[in-house]
Symmetry: D2
Subunit: 271 residues, 4 copies
Amino acid sequence: MQDKQSEKDMRGIRIDKVGVKGLRFPIVVRDLAHRTQNTVATVAMYVDLPHHFKGTHMSRFLEVLHEHGRIIHVENLPEIAKRMQERFSSECAHLQIDFPYFIEKKAPVSQAVGAMDYGVTLQADTMKSKVIFTLGVAVPVTTLCPCSKGVSERGAHNQRGVVTVRIRARKTVWIEEVIQLVEGSASCELYSLLKREDEKHVTERAYDHPVFVEDLVRSVALRIKKDSRVLWYRVEAENFESIHNHSAYAMVESAVAASQQTGAASPSPGH
Amino acid sequence: MQDKQSEKDMRGIRIDKVGVKGLRFPIVVRDLAHRTQNTVATVAMYVDLPHHFKGTHMSRFLEVLHEHGRIIHVENLPEIAKRMQERFSSECAHLQIDFPYFIEKKAPVSQAVGAMDYGVTLQADTMKSKVIFTLGVAVPVTTLCPCSKGVSERGAHNQRGVVTVRIRARKTVWIEEVIQLVEGSASCELYSLLKREDEKHVTERAYDHPVFVEDLVRSVALRIKKDSRVLWYRVEAENFESIHNHSAYAMVESAVAASQQTGAASPSPGH
Amino acid sequence: MQDKQSEKDMRGIRIDKVGVKGLRFPIVVRDLAHRTQNTVATVAMYVDLPHHFKGTHMSRFLEVLHEHGRIIHVENLPEIAKRMQERFSSECAHLQIDFPYFIEKKAPVSQAVGAMDYGVTLQADTMKSKVIFTLGVAVPVTTLCPCSKGVSERGAHNQRGVVTVRIRARKTVWIEEVIQLVEGSASCELYSLLKREDEKHVTERAYDHPVFVEDLVRSVALRIKKDSRVLWYRVEAENFESIHNHSAYAMVESAVAASQQTGAASPSPGH
Amino acid sequence: MQDKQSEKDMRGIRIDKVGVKGLRFPIVVRDLAHRTQNTVATVAMYVDLPHHFKGTHMSRFLEVLHEHGRIIHVENLPEIAKRMQERFSSECAHLQIDFPYFIEKKAPVSQAVGAMDYGVTLQADTMKSKVIFTLGVAVPVTTLCPCSKGVSERGAHNQRGVVTVRIRARKTVWIEEVIQLVEGSASCELYSLLKREDEKHVTERAYDHPVFVEDLVRSVALRIKKDSRVLWYRVEAENFESIHNHSAYAMVESAVAASQQTGAASPSPGH
C-alpha cells in the first residue's frame, strides 16, 4: 500500500508545526486539594517536520493520545509531548488543551454554595530535551469604572470583564492560585448563586473598589512578579463595556520573556 | 451530462426547506431618511421540494441572487423570494439576510458624533401568492438591576444586555423605529463615543432607570402592541450579568401569532 | 430588605419565558450499555411569569440546580423541571442542556479504537402536569455528491456535513440509536483514528454511497417514521461544501407535530 | 470634573497595549483594478501607556477614528496609527481591521459570474517613526488527500480548507495577489456559482492535484519567498477533514522575521 507521507520532498522547506487541532477529548484534572474533576478538552497536537519529508502520519497523534487510556490525566501532558517527539522522530512537539474548570464557591454573606466555571489552557512545548509548560487561566470578573464613579453623583457603570493570565514557572502554580490572585485584583469576583444579602455585598464591594482595565492588568502583574516561581507572564483584561458596544482592553507582558523562556527548566504541571 | 437532481424519488417524503446558507453578499439598505448605506449580509435561501423530485439545482439560488446585480438592494427581497418560487416551481420560498446596520448618534451632552452598530435580520417567506415579511433587530443596551439598587447603600450592578425584537407588520416599520422604541425602554442606550460629561449623564440616567429583563420585554411589548401596523411580535432580552458568569433572559411573544400570520398581507419591506 | 421582584406589575403582560441561560455545569450521562460518562453541559432554565408579578428570583434557578448535588444526572431532568414549577409556582418550566457526548469506535479495518464526539441536547418542557421530553443529536458525517460523481470521469467532491435530529418519543430513545441511524444514512461515518487501510475503506465506502442533503434528511426521516416510539421529529442536514464557501442545507419536519405534542405522555429520558 | 485617568500611578508597570477592540465600522477598500468596494470592519486600536500614568482616555480612540469621516478608507491606516501616537503622546500605536472582501469570479467552464468572499486583516504598527504594515488574507480552498487517492481504487476524500497568509512587504502587495498565489497552490479554488459542467471541471481538477496541508503551506511559502517585495511571512493551512471531526493543520514562518521586522521601511498599504 502506497505511503505518500514518507516520500521525499524537494522544496527545501521545513514545517514549523504540523498536526491535528479541534479534537475533543475527555480529561481528568487534579485540583489544589488533590481531588480530581472530570471535564472535556479541545486538543491541538503538533510536531515540526524536516524539509526532506513530504508528510506526517496524522493517525499517530491519535494513537499517542489514546495510549494513555480513555481519559487523559493532565499530569501526563509533558509525557505525552515527549512521546510525540519519539513517535515522529521530531525535534519539537507542541501539545495544547483547553477546558472548562469548576470551583465550588460560597456566596459572601449567605454562604450558599454554587459552581463557578473558568477557562483553562495547558500547553506543553518540547524542544529536544527541554519542556516548557504554560498555564493559562481566563477569569471572569466585575469591573466598576473609576472615571464613571468619580464624575457621577450616583451610581457608576460596571460590567463583566475577563482577565486572561498566561504564565511559565519553575515550579507548579495551581489554577486556583491564579484565580485567587485575579479575583483579588478586580472590583468584585463572580458567583453563580447569590441571595439578596449577597447581591448587596457584591454591589457595594464593587462600588468601593473601582478599577480600569489598566489597573487590573497592573495589579495582577505586580502580584505575579513577586512570585519567585514565575519565569514569564502575560496578563490581558477585556471589559465588555456596559455603556458601549465594544470592549476596553489592556495587556502587559513580562519584559524578559525570550531569554528566560530558553533557560526554562521542565516544571511539572502539577495538575 | 447526467442530471441526478431531476431523477424521480420514491421515498414519498416532501422536504420543507432545501437550499443554501452561510453565503456572504454585499447589500445596500435604505434608511428612514432615505439615504442608503452599504453593508455585508449573510444570506440563506430555501424552497420546498415535492416528494417526487430527488434533488434541487443549488446553482439556481446563486443565479437568482446575482440576477439583481453585484449588490442586493433590500427593497428587492420580496421580489427575489418570488423569483425563487418561479425558478424552482416551488410552493414556498424563504429568504433571510442578516447584516450589521449603522446609525450616527450624538453623545447626550457633548454632542460628539459616533457610529453605533445594530444587528438586523430581514426575512421574506412566500407561500403561493402570499409574502410574509419579518423584520428583526438586535439592540444592545445598558440595564441596571432594580434589586441591586434597592438593597444596596451605594451603587447598583449594571451590564450590557441585548434586546432582540422580531415583528411582522401590515405596513413598513423602519429599523430606526424599533431601535428607538427599545432604547427608550432600557436603563440607558449605548454610544460609541462618550466624553467625560456624557459618561456622567449615562451613568446617572441608568441609575435613575433600573430595569429587570422582565421590565424590558414588557415595556417593549407594550409599545409594540399599541402600534396598529404590527401583526405579530416576539421580544427577547438577555443580560450579560456583571455579577454572574451566565445570562438573565426573558421572552414575550404575541398570543395571536398563528392566525394573524396566515392572514398577513404582503407588506413592502420599505428598506 | 427590599424585595423588588415580588412587587405588583400593572402592565398586564404575561412573560412566556424568564430565567437563566449560558450556565456551565458538570453532568453525568448514562449510555445505552448502562455505563456512565462525565461531561460538561451548558444549561438554560426558564419558567413563565404571570402578568401581575414584577420579577423572578433568579437565584432560585441555581438553588434548584444545586439541590441535586455537585453533578447533575441526566435521569433527573424531568424531576428538576417539575421542581422548578413548584419553586416558582409557575405553570410551565423549560430546562435545556447541551453537551458533548463521546462514543468509543473501532476503525472499520484496523479495528483501532478512538473516541468520537457528538453534540447532544436534552430538553424537558413541563406544562402543568405534563412533561415533554426532547432529545437532539448533532451527528457529523461524510457526504459525497451524487451529481459530482455522475458528471465527472474521476473523483467526486465530498465534505464534512452535520445531521441534526430532534425527536419526541413515548419511550426512551437512546443517543446511540439516533447516531447509528444517521451514520447508516450518510456516505460514510466519521472516526477520530484511521490507519491507511481504514482510509482506503472509508474513501471507497463514501464513493459507493453518494448522497445529497436531500437524500440524507429523507433517509433519516424514513427510518424515524418507522419507529413506533417516536411522536414527533425534525431532521436537518448541512454540508460544508468543499467546492463552495457556503453550505447546502435541507430540513424535514414531521407533519403532525402540534397535536401529538400536546398529547405527549411523560416519557422518561432514560439517559 | 475629576480626571482619574490623568492621575499618577505608582506601581511602576508600563502597559504594552491599551485601547478598544471589537468595534464595528464601515470601510472602503480599493482593489487591484483601482475600483473601490464598501464593506464592514471589526476594529482594534491600542497604544502603549508609560508606567507613571494611571489610565488612557478611551474616547480619544473613537475621535481619531471618526476624524477621517463616516467611512474609513484603507489607504489612511498608517496615517490613523500615526495620529494615535500624536493624540496619546505614545511611543507605539497598533491599529488592526478585519473585514470580508469580495471578488467577482467566473466559473471555469460556463463563465457564470459569482461573488466570492475572503477574510482580510490589515494591521499598522508604529513605533516612534517606524510603521510596520501587515496584510493577512484567509483563502478558503478545496484540498484532496494524496494518501486517500494513493491507496483507494476509486475516489479520494476532499474537503474545504482555509489558508491564512500574513506578510510584511517593502512595497504594496495586493489582496488579489495573495489570493491568486494560494488558489494556485490548492487542489482547486472555490466558487460561489458552479453549473454542472463547472462541477465536472472542479471535481477532476481537484482529483488531479492532490495536496496535503504540508504541501499547501510549502507551495505557498515557496512562491512568497521568491517575491522580492516580501520581508516576512507566515503561512497556515487548516483542513476541515471530511473523514474526521477534527482538523489537520500546518504552519510555516519565515526564519528571519525578527531582524527584518525591525529594519522594515514604512510601506504604503496600497489598498
